[in-house]
């Protein structure tokens, strides 16, 4: 049972909102996807801790119903599902958002029932804690890579391929010059990866217990 897969953390939040708020917020979200307003998400990009994150606002009637035998959901509220795959500890994530982009958060969770606003931090922590759902199985294709690592890796891959093409016929001196220019271009992407630091002692205890149970010591 774990929210953690190596360097990634899975957060699931489900929060209620009235139908009116849901409709309004959907328009705001739609606006965020238009290039004109895409810079509103710039804070998120600069924080750089997220692999992928998404919001789904669901009406009671949109809860899946596979047969007539299954009772239809009857709810007072619409619900917003938030799923994030981020790097760092829970506290670091929540604190960073609260400190760096509180206005953005307030837009995204505008008028959700009980939303305390992103600042001050303690009520915001409580709100997230109270509404967080625990993940039972979390898989990351690259537990040893943070989102920054995946992005840096793409730089390296693209540049390396181009460099090889470009230097096929070069004499050593020319090659060496271009190689050093390549290193310079890539200097922000040349760090080695390894396993994640331990961000949660509770999680670490679970990991160690699993190792014992599976006979790996």
């Amino acid at each position: 049972m774990s929210n953690i897969a190596g360097k990634a953390y899975a957060m699931n939040l489900v929060t209620p909102l009235t139908e009116l708020t849901a409709d309004f917020n959907k328009v705001v979200f739609f606006g965020l996807e238009i290039p004109l307003f895409k810079d509103k998400l710039e804070g998120l990009l600069t924080l750089s801790m997220i692999h992928y994150a998404r919001w789904s606002i669901v009406r009671p009637s949109e809860f899946p119903r596979v047969s007539a035998a299954q009772p239809a959901e009857e709810l007072n509220y619409n619900y917003m599902f938030f799923f994030s795959n981020f790097n760092g500890s829970w506290a670091q994530y929540v604190d960073s958002f609260s400190a760096a982009i509180p206005d953005g958060l307030n837009s995204l969770w505008h008028n959700n029932i009980g939303w305390p606003k992103a600042v001050p931090q303690q009520p915001f922590h409580s709100y997230v804690n109270d509404n967080q759902l625990w993940t039972n199985h979390y898989y990351s294709a690259y537990p040893m890579a943070a989102s920054n690592d995946v992005k840096a890796a793409k730089q390296v891959k693209d540049e390396l391929r181009e460099f090889i093409e470009d230097t096929l016929q070069d004499a050593p001196d020319q090659f060496s010059r271009k190689y050093h220019a390549l290193l310079k271009r890539l200097q922000d992407s040349l760090s080695c990866m390894a396993e994640t630091p331990i961000v949660s002692l509770a999680h670490q205890a679970v990991v160690e217990q699993c190792r014992v149970d599976e006979g790996i010591v």
Binding site: T46, S48, A91, Q92, A99, A100, L183, P197, L201
Partner: protein, 522 residues
Amino acid sequence: MNDRAVDLHDVQGNIIKAYPRFGFPRARYLFFRINDAKAGRGFLAKLLPLITTSAPWLKEGNAADGSARPDVATNVAFTFEGLRRLGVPQASLQSFPEAFASGMKARRAILGDDGPSAPDKWDAVWQDPDPVHLFVAICGGTFEQIQRCHDRILALRGASADAIQLLDGHRGPDGQKLPYQDASAIFINDEVTPREHFGYADGISNPFFKGSLADSSNVVGGGKRRGAGGWEPLETGEFLLGYADEAFEYPAAPVPNLLGDNGTYLVYRKLHENVGSFESYLNEASAAYPGGREMLAAKLAGRWRNGAPLVRYPTEASANQFGEEWARAKKQIAESRGVERERAKRHFSKLNESMVDFDYTEDPAGGRCPIGAHARRVNPRSALEYGEQGAFARPDALSNRRRILRRGMPYGDSRDRTDDQGEHGVIFMALGADIARQFEFVQQQWINYGNDFRRANDKDPLLGNHEQDTGRFLIESDPHAAHPPHFCSKIRRFVETRGGDYFFVPSLTALHMIADGIVDPT
């Protein structure tokens, strides 16, 4: 925000004052285990009159109101187990934060205290399964003065010497076990220096917060960025409980209020420095580094040995010139009088300011100060906004709540520059309102890891817990320079943990309550 004045008489002195700057360059640290609660409270009551507060010291001060500078400064702090032993009620105990309640040894996985830094290598006093309860710090000008206070404190135990057990097991200069830990500024030619054993001027950047004593020029570089440029003090609540903090609330604090108000947390860590390894590393690595030995040392730290920051003084010549001017200015103050002296003081002050008045937004690519350099890691200032102006509520939003007050001092002797085994290092002390959010975070995310700096798993070259000699450090190339980046490998662990714990530094009011046994959480 409306600022409530800090009641300096209620706040212990070591929080507001960096004692070495007040003529106390030496210290002795005593640790006790309390074996009887009543005796413990009695002892604490007797200690109270000796405790130094943050009340300002005046030239013509008097002892009665704390405004006369004493011979020694004495302060106390407790571990969680210490508070429990003294009879603080269960509900109050449970209201203390998890990190403090667990103690530093239990947090070693988060801190990276593994291998050579693991508890089985710690001084005996910290390895002991029975916890430390009480920390008494004595800071003074000479060890004679300190010894007198030491003797006086032990004598206060009266018949209860067993009940208030002075703990043995600090490794001393000759490897012997001592019942105390001594620390001292490093003296060169009988003059106090701010150096630590690797040779760097230490403790330059200390946060400036509302209500802290220092004159307002310390806000430069010590506080947070002001929108229009310049600096302003950080909120008191980042460093003292019971005051508004940077998140526009009071920091989480124990109940009842009076137990926490005007108090803070203290992290004590004995950090051994492998001087020999560091010197030989500089020798080996600088052979291949075009900038030379001193520049390499500067690139690792983010500052030249004399403290000049790389961002402002990118060349060895400019740093040396700074050093010379600084020494000249200091001499000028000593040798002049009246108006000339005032002018000399202003000039000196400006030089000191230049050591802290900078930001990494001047050097986004790290061509001057490497992105992974020590100083840039532990206090990134506005660097984490990565030049995307306006992306965050304020450019230093990700740094402001990760600051610590540093109150430590070096210990031991390192005149033999080839030696790793000897007793020498830094007694590191960090104070702040939240151990996990401030100290532990910096240790775990910024010193032993690199993701926030987009440096994957790279560690702080000086302080990181490198495995064997597999550490790596990148010295970025300046965008306008022709040379490529420089790769430093085979970095070994230069600093090793030799013990420590987490403490709570109560206010004078709270100390009285604890001593009287009247803490009531309801």
